[in-house]
Symmetry: C2
Subunit: 191 residues, 2 copies
Protein backbone atom coordinates (compact mmCIF):
# COMPACT_ATOMS: atom_id res chain seq x y z
CA UNK A 1 0.00 0.00 0.00
CA UNK A 2 1.53 3.30 -0.98
CA UNK A 3 1.66 6.11 1.61
CA UNK A 4 -0.78 8.99 1.81
CA UNK A 5 0.14 12.06 -0.23
CA UNK A 6 1.93 9.85 -2.81
CA UNK A 7 1.25 11.82 -5.98
CA UNK A 8 2.61 11.39 -9.52
CA UNK A 9 5.10 13.97 -10.82
CA UNK A 10 5.11 14.60 -14.58
CA UNK A 11 8.33 13.30 -16.13
CA UNK A 12 9.26 16.73 -17.48
CA UNK A 13 9.36 18.01 -13.89
CA UNK A 14 11.19 15.00 -12.44
CA UNK A 15 14.62 16.68 -12.59
CA UNK A 16 13.36 19.19 -10.01
CA UNK A 17 13.18 16.43 -7.43
CA UNK A 18 16.98 16.06 -7.54
CA UNK A 19 18.07 19.51 -8.64
CA UNK A 20 18.76 20.82 -5.13
CA UNK A 21 21.28 18.04 -4.52
CA UNK A 22 19.65 15.92 -1.81
CA UNK A 23 21.06 12.70 -0.44
CA UNK A 24 19.06 9.73 -1.71
CA UNK A 25 18.21 6.17 -0.81
CA UNK A 26 18.79 3.68 -3.63
CA UNK A 27 16.48 0.66 -3.67
CA UNK A 28 16.33 -2.39 -5.91
CA UNK A 29 14.79 -5.86 -6.10
CA UNK A 30 15.85 -9.07 -7.83
CA UNK A 31 15.02 -12.71 -7.33
CA UNK A 32 12.85 -11.97 -4.33
CA UNK A 33 15.59 -9.99 -2.58
CA UNK A 34 15.13 -6.31 -1.69
CA UNK A 35 17.81 -3.92 -0.58
CA UNK A 36 18.28 -0.22 0.08
CA UNK A 37 21.46 1.84 0.53
CA UNK A 38 22.04 5.55 0.93
CA UNK A 39 23.99 7.60 -1.61
CA UNK A 40 25.09 11.22 -1.50
CA UNK A 41 26.42 10.97 -5.05
CA UNK A 42 23.29 11.07 -7.16
CA UNK A 43 22.56 13.83 -9.66
CA UNK A 44 20.25 14.84 -12.46
CA UNK A 45 21.75 14.30 -15.93
CA UNK A 46 19.07 15.37 -18.41
CA UNK A 47 15.62 16.96 -18.62
CA UNK A 48 13.69 15.01 -21.27
CA UNK A 49 13.70 12.14 -21.12
CA UNK A 50 14.88 12.67 -17.55
CA UNK A 51 18.09 10.88 -16.68
CA UNK A 52 20.12 10.56 -13.50
CA UNK A 53 23.56 9.43 -12.40
CA UNK A 54 24.30 7.55 -9.21
CA UNK A 55 27.53 6.08 -7.82
CA UNK A 56 27.15 2.49 -6.55
CA UNK A 57 30.20 0.89 -4.97
CA UNK A 58 31.15 -2.61 -6.13
CA UNK A 59 31.01 -3.85 -2.53
CA UNK A 60 27.26 -3.24 -2.19
CA UNK A 61 24.43 -5.74 -2.40
CA UNK A 62 22.19 -3.04 -3.86
CA UNK A 63 24.49 -2.74 -6.87
CA UNK A 64 24.18 -6.46 -7.52
CA UNK A 65 20.39 -6.12 -7.51
CA UNK A 66 20.53 -3.11 -9.82
CA UNK A 67 22.77 -4.92 -12.28
CA UNK A 68 20.61 -8.05 -12.22
CA UNK A 69 17.24 -6.31 -12.50
CA UNK A 70 18.17 -3.35 -14.68
CA UNK A 71 16.14 -1.04 -12.44
CA UNK A 72 16.56 1.04 -9.31
CA UNK A 73 14.68 3.74 -7.46
CA UNK A 74 16.06 6.94 -5.97
CA UNK A 75 14.09 8.47 -3.11
CA UNK A 76 14.67 11.44 -0.86
CA UNK A 77 14.77 10.74 2.89
CA UNK A 78 13.37 13.40 5.21
CA UNK A 79 14.75 14.84 8.46
CA UNK A 80 13.37 12.12 10.79
CA UNK A 81 15.10 9.52 8.59
CA UNK A 82 18.64 10.89 9.10
CA UNK A 83 19.76 8.14 11.47
CA UNK A 84 18.28 5.43 9.23
CA UNK A 85 20.03 6.98 6.23
CA UNK A 86 23.41 6.76 7.95
CA UNK A 87 22.71 3.23 9.20
CA UNK A 88 21.73 1.74 5.83
CA UNK A 89 24.66 3.49 4.18
CA UNK A 90 27.06 2.01 6.73
CA UNK A 91 25.75 -1.54 7.23
CA UNK A 92 25.80 -3.94 4.27
CA UNK A 93 23.22 -6.65 3.65
CA UNK A 94 26.20 -8.86 2.78
CA UNK A 95 27.24 -9.01 6.42
CA UNK A 96 23.92 -8.04 8.07
CA UNK A 97 21.18 -9.83 6.10
CA UNK A 98 18.37 -8.30 8.19
CA UNK A 99 19.70 -4.78 7.75
CA UNK A 100 16.39 -3.35 6.50
CA UNK A 101 14.31 -4.76 9.36
CA UNK A 102 16.95 -3.83 11.92
CA UNK A 103 16.92 -0.20 10.86
CA UNK A 104 13.16 0.09 10.45
CA UNK A 105 13.06 0.46 6.66
CA UNK A 106 9.47 -0.04 5.47
CA UNK A 107 8.97 -0.78 1.79
CA UNK A 108 5.97 -0.38 -0.50
CA UNK A 109 5.22 -0.75 -4.19
CA UNK A 110 3.85 1.83 -6.57
CA UNK A 111 1.00 0.86 -8.89
CA UNK A 112 2.44 -0.27 -12.22
CA UNK A 113 6.01 -0.50 -10.90
CA UNK A 114 5.93 -3.49 -8.60
CA UNK A 115 9.39 -4.70 -9.61
CA UNK A 116 11.11 -1.87 -7.69
CA UNK A 117 10.55 -1.45 -3.94
CA UNK A 118 10.13 2.06 -2.56
CA UNK A 119 10.83 3.37 0.95
CA UNK A 120 8.11 4.81 3.19
CA UNK A 121 8.57 8.26 4.69
CA UNK A 122 10.45 9.88 1.81
CA UNK A 123 9.61 13.19 0.14
CA UNK A 124 9.92 11.98 -3.47
CA UNK A 125 10.59 8.81 -5.46
CA UNK A 126 12.03 8.19 -8.94
CA UNK A 127 11.96 4.76 -10.60
CA UNK A 128 14.77 4.41 -13.12
CA UNK A 129 15.77 1.97 -15.84
CA UNK A 130 19.52 1.41 -16.13
CA UNK A 131 21.05 2.63 -19.38
CA UNK A 132 23.89 0.12 -19.62
CA UNK A 133 27.30 1.80 -19.76
CA UNK A 134 29.74 -0.94 -18.79
CA UNK A 135 32.85 1.25 -18.91
CA UNK A 136 31.37 3.84 -16.53
CA UNK A 137 30.06 1.15 -14.21
CA UNK A 138 33.41 -0.67 -14.09
CA UNK A 139 35.84 2.25 -14.09
CA UNK A 140 33.89 4.77 -11.99
CA UNK A 141 31.05 2.84 -10.27
CA UNK A 142 28.86 5.32 -12.16
CA UNK A 143 25.38 4.24 -13.25
CA UNK A 144 23.11 6.14 -15.61
CA UNK A 145 19.36 5.69 -15.38
CA UNK A 146 16.37 6.97 -17.28
CA UNK A 147 13.55 8.05 -15.00
CA UNK A 148 10.44 6.11 -16.02
CA UNK A 149 8.11 7.25 -13.22
CA UNK A 150 8.21 9.78 -10.39
CA UNK A 151 6.09 10.70 -7.40
CA UNK A 152 6.32 13.15 -4.52
CA UNK A 153 4.62 13.80 -1.22
CA UNK A 154 2.14 16.46 -2.30
CA UNK A 155 2.44 18.24 1.03
CA UNK A 156 5.97 19.29 0.09
CA UNK A 157 6.16 19.13 -3.75
CA UNK A 158 3.13 20.19 -5.77
CA UNK A 159 2.41 21.75 -9.14
CA UNK A 160 6.04 21.17 -10.08
CA UNK A 161 7.50 23.08 -7.10
CA UNK A 162 9.04 22.27 -3.75
CA UNK A 163 7.16 23.97 -0.91
CA UNK A 164 9.55 23.41 1.99
CA UNK A 165 8.93 26.83 3.53
CA UNK A 166 5.17 26.31 3.91
CA UNK A 167 5.22 22.73 5.24
CA UNK A 168 6.39 21.25 8.56
CA UNK A 169 10.16 21.02 8.92
CA UNK A 170 10.04 17.23 9.27
CA UNK A 171 9.34 17.03 5.52
CA UNK A 172 12.58 18.79 4.59
CA UNK A 173 15.12 16.72 2.67
CA UNK A 174 18.71 15.96 3.69
CA UNK A 175 22.16 16.79 2.37
CA UNK A 176 24.89 14.54 3.76
CA UNK A 177 28.42 15.75 4.45
CA UNK A 178 30.39 13.09 6.37
CA UNK A 179 30.66 11.53 9.82
CA UNK A 180 26.90 11.37 10.45
CA UNK A 181 26.45 15.06 9.71
CA UNK A 182 23.77 16.43 7.38
CA UNK A 183 22.29 19.77 6.49
CA UNK A 184 18.54 20.01 6.02
CA UNK A 185 17.30 21.83 2.96
CA UNK A 186 17.11 25.44 4.11
CA UNK A 187 15.48 28.75 3.38
CA UNK A 188 13.92 29.53 0.00
CA UNK A 189 15.66 32.25 -2.03
CA UNK A 190 13.92 33.63 -5.12
CA UNK A 191 15.71 35.95 -7.55
Amino acid sequence: MHPNHFTPVPLDKAYRLLNHGPTVLVSARHGGVDNVMSAAWACALDFAPPKVTVVLDKATRTRELVEASGHFALQLPTVPMAAMTVAIGTDSAKTLPDKLQRHGVELFEAPGHRSTPLVQGCAAWLVCRVIPEPHNQQAYDLFIGEVVAAWADDRVFRNGHWEFDTTPDHLRTLHYVAGGQFYATGQSIKV
Copy 2:
Protein backbone atom coordinates in the same frame (compact mmCIF):
# COMPACT_ATOMS: atom_id res chain seq x y z
CA MET B 1 45.06 38.49 -5.73
CA HIS B 2 43.15 35.77 -3.98
CA PRO B 3 40.43 36.72 -1.47
CA ASN B 4 40.87 36.75 2.28
CA HIS B 5 40.10 33.48 4.06
CA PHE B 6 41.16 31.49 0.94
CA THR B 7 42.60 28.38 2.59
CA PRO B 8 43.79 25.10 1.06
CA VAL B 9 41.66 21.99 1.64
CA PRO B 10 43.51 18.65 1.72
CA LEU B 11 42.59 16.57 -1.32
CA ASP B 12 41.27 13.71 0.82
CA LYS B 13 38.66 16.12 2.22
CA ALA B 14 37.77 17.74 -1.12
CA TYR B 15 34.69 15.55 -1.68
CA ARG B 16 33.11 17.17 1.39
CA LEU B 17 32.95 20.47 -0.47
CA LEU B 18 30.42 18.96 -2.91
CA ASN B 19 28.83 16.23 -0.83
CA HIS B 20 25.84 18.32 0.27
CA GLY B 21 24.82 18.88 -3.36
CA PRO B 22 25.36 22.61 -3.87
CA THR B 23 24.91 24.43 -7.15
CA VAL B 24 28.29 25.39 -8.62
CA LEU B 25 29.86 27.89 -10.96
CA VAL B 26 32.05 26.31 -13.65
CA SER B 27 34.96 28.43 -14.84
CA ALA B 28 37.59 27.88 -17.52
CA ARG B 29 40.23 29.73 -19.53
CA HIS B 30 41.77 29.13 -22.95
CA GLY B 31 43.58 31.34 -25.43
CA GLY B 32 43.17 34.41 -23.25
CA VAL B 33 39.39 33.92 -22.96
CA ASP B 34 37.71 33.37 -19.58
CA ASN B 35 34.17 32.25 -18.99
CA VAL B 36 31.94 31.12 -16.14
CA MET B 37 28.56 29.36 -16.17
CA SER B 38 26.38 27.98 -13.43
CA ALA B 39 25.56 24.29 -13.12
CA ALA B 40 23.22 22.50 -10.75
CA TRP B 41 24.33 19.13 -12.11
CA ALA B 42 27.74 18.64 -10.52
CA CYS B 43 28.51 15.81 -8.13
CA ALA B 44 31.33 14.07 -6.32
CA LEU B 45 32.41 10.82 -8.00
CA ASP B 46 35.30 9.46 -5.91
CA PHE B 47 37.25 10.07 -2.70
CA ALA B 48 40.91 9.47 -3.52
CA PRO B 49 42.01 10.73 -5.86
CA PRO B 50 38.93 12.96 -5.68
CA LYS B 51 36.88 13.05 -8.85
CA VAL B 52 33.77 14.96 -9.88
CA THR B 53 31.15 14.89 -12.61
CA VAL B 54 29.60 17.96 -14.20
CA VAL B 55 27.12 18.34 -17.06
CA LEU B 56 28.14 20.96 -19.66
CA ASP B 57 25.73 21.62 -22.49
CA LYS B 58 27.15 21.68 -26.02
CA ALA B 59 25.74 25.18 -26.55
CA THR B 60 28.00 26.75 -23.90
CA ARG B 61 31.19 28.74 -24.40
CA THR B 62 32.50 27.40 -21.10
CA ARG B 63 32.39 23.86 -22.48
CA GLU B 64 34.54 24.93 -25.44
CA LEU B 65 37.12 26.36 -23.04
CA VAL B 66 37.05 23.20 -20.90
CA GLU B 67 37.58 20.98 -23.94
CA ALA B 68 40.38 23.17 -25.28
CA SER B 69 42.23 23.64 -22.00
CA GLY B 70 41.57 20.30 -20.34
CA HIS B 71 40.82 22.05 -17.05
CA PHE B 72 37.91 23.62 -15.21
CA ALA B 73 37.12 24.86 -11.74
CA LEU B 74 33.97 24.24 -9.72
CA GLN B 75 33.16 26.79 -7.03
CA LEU B 76 30.25 27.23 -4.64
CA PRO B 77 28.38 30.53 -4.85
CA THR B 78 26.98 31.97 -1.63
CA VAL B 79 23.58 33.50 -0.84
CA PRO B 80 24.39 37.05 -2.03
CA MET B 81 25.46 35.55 -5.39
CA ALA B 82 22.07 33.97 -6.19
CA ALA B 83 21.05 36.54 -8.81
CA MET B 84 24.49 36.40 -10.45
CA THR B 85 24.28 32.60 -10.50
CA VAL B 86 20.97 32.70 -12.39
CA ALA B 87 22.23 35.40 -14.76
CA ILE B 88 25.44 33.64 -15.82
CA GLY B 89 23.54 30.39 -16.20
CA THR B 90 20.99 32.08 -18.47
CA ASP B 91 23.10 34.43 -20.59
CA SER B 92 25.72 32.95 -22.92
CA ALA B 93 29.03 34.57 -23.78
CA LYS B 94 28.30 33.49 -27.35
CA THR B 95 25.57 36.12 -27.65
CA LEU B 96 26.64 38.45 -24.80
CA PRO B 97 30.44 38.66 -24.96
CA ASP B 98 30.69 40.94 -21.89
CA LYS B 99 28.52 38.64 -19.79
CA LEU B 100 31.00 38.41 -16.91
CA GLN B 101 31.47 42.17 -16.59
CA ARG B 102 27.75 42.81 -17.00
CA HIS B 103 26.89 40.51 -14.13
CA GLY B 104 29.70 41.61 -11.84
CA VAL B 105 31.73 38.40 -11.91
CA GLU B 106 35.18 39.10 -10.44
CA LEU B 107 37.90 36.58 -11.19
CA PHE B 108 41.17 35.78 -9.44
CA GLU B 109 43.93 33.21 -9.75
CA ALA B 110 45.19 30.80 -7.15
CA PRO B 111 48.93 30.45 -6.61
CA GLY B 112 50.23 27.59 -8.73
CA HIS B 113 47.01 27.27 -10.75
CA ARG B 114 47.02 30.38 -12.91
CA SER B 115 45.59 28.61 -15.96
CA THR B 116 42.12 28.36 -14.38
CA PRO B 117 40.25 31.50 -13.29
CA LEU B 118 38.34 31.41 -10.01
CA VAL B 119 35.33 33.48 -8.93
CA GLN B 120 35.44 35.87 -5.96
CA GLY B 121 32.84 35.54 -3.21
CA CYS B 122 32.43 31.77 -3.27
CA ALA B 123 32.62 29.44 -0.27
CA ALA B 124 34.92 26.83 -1.86
CA TRP B 125 36.83 26.16 -5.05
CA LEU B 126 38.04 22.97 -6.77
CA VAL B 127 40.42 22.99 -9.73
CA CYS B 128 39.95 19.90 -11.89
CA ARG B 129 41.76 18.22 -14.76
CA VAL B 130 39.46 16.66 -17.35
CA ILE B 131 39.67 12.87 -17.58
CA PRO B 132 38.79 12.50 -21.25
CA GLU B 133 35.73 10.32 -21.80
CA PRO B 134 34.57 11.21 -25.32
CA HIS B 135 31.49 8.95 -25.28
CA ASN B 136 30.15 10.49 -22.05
CA GLN B 137 30.91 13.99 -23.26
CA GLN B 138 29.18 13.45 -26.60
CA ALA B 139 26.23 11.28 -25.57
CA TYR B 140 25.40 12.81 -22.18
CA ASP B 141 27.28 16.16 -21.97
CA LEU B 142 28.90 14.52 -18.94
CA PHE B 143 32.45 15.50 -17.99
CA ILE B 144 34.62 13.74 -15.42
CA GLY B 145 37.39 15.65 -13.67
CA GLU B 146 40.07 14.81 -11.16
CA VAL B 147 40.37 17.42 -8.44
CA VAL B 148 43.98 18.64 -8.40
CA ALA B 149 43.63 21.45 -5.85
CA ALA B 150 40.92 22.72 -3.50
CA TRP B 151 40.38 25.67 -1.21
CA ALA B 152 37.61 26.98 1.01
CA ASP B 153 36.71 30.14 2.87
CA ASP B 154 38.01 29.22 6.31
CA ARG B 155 35.18 31.13 7.99
CA VAL B 156 32.74 28.48 6.76
CA PHE B 157 34.81 25.31 6.09
CA ARG B 158 37.69 24.49 8.42
CA ASN B 159 39.45 21.39 9.73
CA GLY B 160 37.61 19.37 7.11
CA HIS B 161 34.11 20.45 8.19
CA TRP B 162 31.45 22.89 7.05
CA GLU B 163 30.51 25.33 9.82
CA PHE B 164 27.40 26.95 8.36
CA ASP B 165 25.60 27.10 11.70
CA THR B 166 28.29 29.18 13.40
CA THR B 167 28.98 31.66 10.60
CA PRO B 168 26.91 34.48 9.10
CA ASP B 169 24.08 33.31 6.83
CA HIS B 170 25.54 35.16 3.84
CA LEU B 171 28.22 32.45 3.65
CA ARG B 172 25.69 29.65 3.15
CA THR B 173 25.78 27.84 -0.17
CA LEU B 174 22.94 27.51 -2.68
CA HIS B 175 20.86 24.67 -4.10
CA TYR B 176 19.05 25.58 -7.30
CA VAL B 177 15.63 24.20 -8.21
CA ALA B 178 14.24 26.03 -11.28
CA GLY B 179 12.76 29.38 -12.32
CA GLY B 180 15.15 31.52 -10.27
CA GLN B 181 14.39 29.62 -7.07
CA PHE B 182 17.05 28.27 -4.71
CA TYR B 183 17.23 26.82 -1.24
CA ALA B 184 20.08 27.88 1.00
CA THR B 185 21.95 25.16 2.85
CA GLY B 186 19.95 24.75 6.04
CA GLN B 187 20.18 23.52 9.59
CA SER B 188 22.86 21.08 10.72
CA ILE B 189 21.63 17.63 11.74
CA LYS B 190 24.05 15.27 13.50
CA VAL B 191 23.16 11.63 14.11
